[in-house]
């Protein structure tokens, strides 16, 4: 499955009723009815996100957070993939094989449509064509296709296959979607299915699913990765083991309430934000059914690393620019130093060792202004005016993989708010306006980008930015600078 660059952010108007999720509950795998198995790469088309699964149906989302049924395609079969090429969408899927009915004779089909929107007059797929097949006996099962449009050559590749023999790679014509004449399939891996490929910094990456599918909460599906300097391999893992000998570095496995991740798909949102889609064989909070999820992806030492969607909690919000923390611009209140005055505090205590109480909100907040409070960046001292409670907000939409968040000083309703003149301030109350709903995206280096859902007077997405070492503002996100990169740390 293929890299997609998505320009639009899919911002929605706020819903009416608002409800903050309980902080103790893990973040759910998307909202709505995200039930799907073998999802295709999440693809953006005319303001909506689409993914297709085994059986012919698929899911649609306005924002990448709330998903509903409604995507359709002809052909049935299993495990499709989609890629946008020019102004058209190329769909691939397989019929036969997969061990269903005991067979491994299968064909990989491709077909085009001008749009993925089933309500559009331009919707409709061309007659399909078979681009790869397996005869049921050979060491290959031609299902689970995935596209790679090589950004260095503009050549179109398709990987496919399962545990039944080899994962294979063939070349397609990006103009027709058909197999390049004379192209011979190349074996690139074993022990995988649901493969996907991507390119980054001179490396081709082959991601594939190991383990067992289709057994609900007992499925052992997990996603592995190997890489190569050539698209045709050899693909090796971090131990140098060839994927043709079972190699594969773990990318993501089960965690929390989600069991059996499989069917990787890259969702490149641009500006250093990459996410991946997958399905879980079982979401234990959704009757153990198979569901879609979208999660952040990071890079470390040339390998992709699966991230987690942002978890609610109380944090220091630390600027990568200087390491200063976002705080209310209020008077700094000194703490008791343990009975010692003047310069010092060195050496062992004269009496018993005793803990000093932390400064509490009630000790300092009574002196804070009742109305709006300006914000600044300062040395983090674990004080009440520097601790932010971040809570997902229900029924206001979201963005790929996550809902919007409320960001407020812990223990208060003093809420981080975007102002009409492009700055930030803490308002005394949360009103659920778009200026108080925040999008938190983890960047590929592990830091975060923080953006208001919208702000008055600006149609362009803006990001929380340290315009000075101690001064926050909102500005167009600069992916090359640390000004708009933030870390969330437990205070």
């Amino acid at each position: 499955m293929k890299s997609r660059t998505l320009a639009a952010m899919g911002l929605l108007a706020a819903g009416a009723a608002l409800l903050c999720f309980a902080q103790s509950r893990p973040a759910p795998a998307l909202d709505g009815e995200p039930y799907i198995h073998d999802p295709s790469t999440v693809t953006y088309c005319e303001g909506k996100y689409y993914t297709y699964g085994t059986g012919g149906g698929g899911l649609i989302s306005d924002d990448g957070w709330t998903w509903h049924t409604g995507a359709t395609r002809p052909g049935g079969g299993v495990a499709p993939d989609v890629i946008r090429i020019g102004d058209r969408y190329l769909m691939s899927y397989a019929r036969g094989g997969g061990g269903l009915g005991g067979g491994h004779a299968s064909g990989v089909h491709t077909m085009w449509s001008k749009t993925l929107d089933p309500k559009s007059p331009n919707f409709g797929f061309t007659d399909d064509t078979i681009v790869a097949s397996s005869d049921g006996v050979e060491d290959n099962d031609a299902i689970d296709p995935a596209f790679l449009l090589d950004p260095t050559t503009n050549r179109l590749w398709l990987s496919y296959g399962t545990y039944y023999g080899f994962i294979r790679l063939v070349e397609l014509d990006p103009k027709t979607g058909k197999r390049v004449a004379g192209n011979q399939a190349v074996n690139i891996a074993i022990d995988m299915e649901a493969t996907a490929m991507m390119y980054r910094d001179g490396w081709y990456y082959l991601l594939g699913t190991h383990g067992t599918c289709c057994d609900g909460a007992n499925s052992t599906y997990n996603i592995r990765v190997a890489r190569s300097r050539k698209v045709t391999g050899p693909y090796v893992d971090n131990m140098g083991i060839d994927a043709l000998k079972g190699g594969g570095k773990l990318f993501v496995a089960a965690s929390g309430r989600f069991v059996g991740p499989g069917h990787f798909g890259l969702l490149d949102l641009g500006d250093g934000v990459q996410k991946f889609s997958c399905h879980y064989e079982a979401d234990l909070d959704r009757s153990g059914r198979s569901v879609l999820d979208i999660r952040p992806m990071m890079w470390q030492d040339g390998w992709p690393v699966a991230g987690d969607n942002f978890q609610a909690g109380t944090y220091e919000i630390e600027s990568e620019r200087k390491g200063y923390a976002l705080e209310l611009a209020v008077d700094f209140v000194r703490m008791d130093r343990g009975g010692r005055g003047g310069f010092g505090g060195f050496g062992a205590p004269a009496g018993p060792v005793t803990p000093l109480a932390a400064q509490e909100l009630a000790q300092v907040s009574t002196n804070w202004p009742a109305g709006n409070v300006a914000l600044r960046l300062g040395d983090f001292m674990a004080r009440p005016h520097q601790k932010w409670t971040i809570t997902p907000v229900a029924n206001v939409g979201g963005y790929p993989g996550s809902p919007y968040f409320k960001i407020a000083i812990a223990g208060t309703d003093r809420t981080l708010t975007a102002t009409a003149d492009g700055d930030v301030v803490a308002l005394p109350a949360f009103t659920s306006s778009p200026e108080q709903l925040w999008r938190i995206d983890q960047l590929t280096d592990g830091t975060y980008r923080i953006m208001p859902k919208s702000m008055a007077g600006s149609k362009e997405p803006m990001a929380l930015t340290a315009v000075g070492a101690s001064t926050p503002t909102l500005a167009k996100f600069d992916p090359k600078s640390d000004k708009a990169r933030w870390m969330f740390k437990k205070p």
Binding site: H37, D38, T54, G55, G56, G76, G77, V78, A79, R95, G96, G97, G98, G99, L100, G101, G102, G103, H104, A105, S106, G107, S133, S134, D135, G136, V137, E138, D141, I143, D144, T162, Y163, Y164, G165, I190, D191, E193, A194, H210, T212, C213, C214, D215, N218, S219, T220, I241, K245, G246, G247
Partner: protein, 237 residues
């Protein structure tokens, strides 16, 4: 998704909604052969391949061991399955090519073979001989000659699915669970390859899906031991 591989010969919701069109089933009717995956073992000795994998084995035609799913291959199950005696002298015999054993109603033959690949594709062995391919238990034996005592060696095995391996009559390594074959997947504790003859015995069990294994020895630095030779005495009758 590959439902036959592994768990699911279980009834599946997706299976019910699919209108499958198998378009090339005729290939299954073609005459079967174990070529090109295997050739008969020759009388001459054979060295491991460039990565140290052992490619010469005596393989017994598969014993029927029906399992609709591989999820049953927990440690206790496979230890019981692999220590059950299916045929006389099962844990001591060094068979000859063509020897036959009786397992229940089955009469099964041993085949002395060289694998054309680094791994031993048991699925292709069974398929090529028109034997059952799913719900099966395989036995494999080989003799490795070492030019010297090699202490602190380890037997490194990958198998699909579960398997158990012995060196000179002692259990060396066990691979439990619904498992795919990965090189160096499970590795024995340190052991000594004796100068001269060493007998390796293995058993591989599988329900649905492909069956295969790979075996090599690695030294105390994790490097493959390659100065070994395999000779199946009198293997080719």
């Amino acid at each position: 998704m590959n439902t036959l591989r592994k768990t699911a010969m279980l009834a599946m919701g997706t299976a019910a909604i699919l209108a499958l069109q198998v378009f090339a089933a005729a290939a299954d009717d073609a005459p079967r052969s174990i070529a090109p995956y295997f050739t008969p073992a020759k009388a001459s000795t054979k060295a491991p391949d460039a990565d140290g994998f052992l490619q010469r084995w005596l393989l017994l035609e598969p014993i029927n061991k029906p399992n609709r799913t591989n999820t049953v291959f927990v440690d206790s199950y496979i230890r019981a399955a692999f220590t059950t005696e299916y045929f006389p002298n099962q844990f001591t015999v060094i068979p000859h090519d063509g020897d036959k054993v009786k397992v229940g109603e089955q009469e099964l033959a041993w085949h002395a073979l060289d694998s054309a690949n680094w791994n031993v594709k048991l699925f292709r062995f069974a398929y090529g001989l028109n034997k059952p391919i799913y719900g099966v238990l395989f036995w494999a034996v080989t003799v490795v000659n070492s030019p010297r005592d090699i202490p602190n060696a380890r037997m490194a095995v990958g198998s699909n699915s579960a398997s158990m391996w012995w060196l000179n009559g002692k259990e060396a390594v066990i691979l439990s669970g619904d498992r795919r074959m990965v090189m160096d997947d499970c590795v024995s504790k340190r052991l000594t390859l004796s100068k001269g003859r060493n007998v390796i015995r293995g058993a591989v069990i599988n329900g649905p899906g492909m069956s295969d294994f790979c075996v090599r020895f690695i030294d105390e630095n994790g490097q493959p031991i390659k100065d070994l030779s395999m000779s199946l005495e009198n293997a080719a009758k």
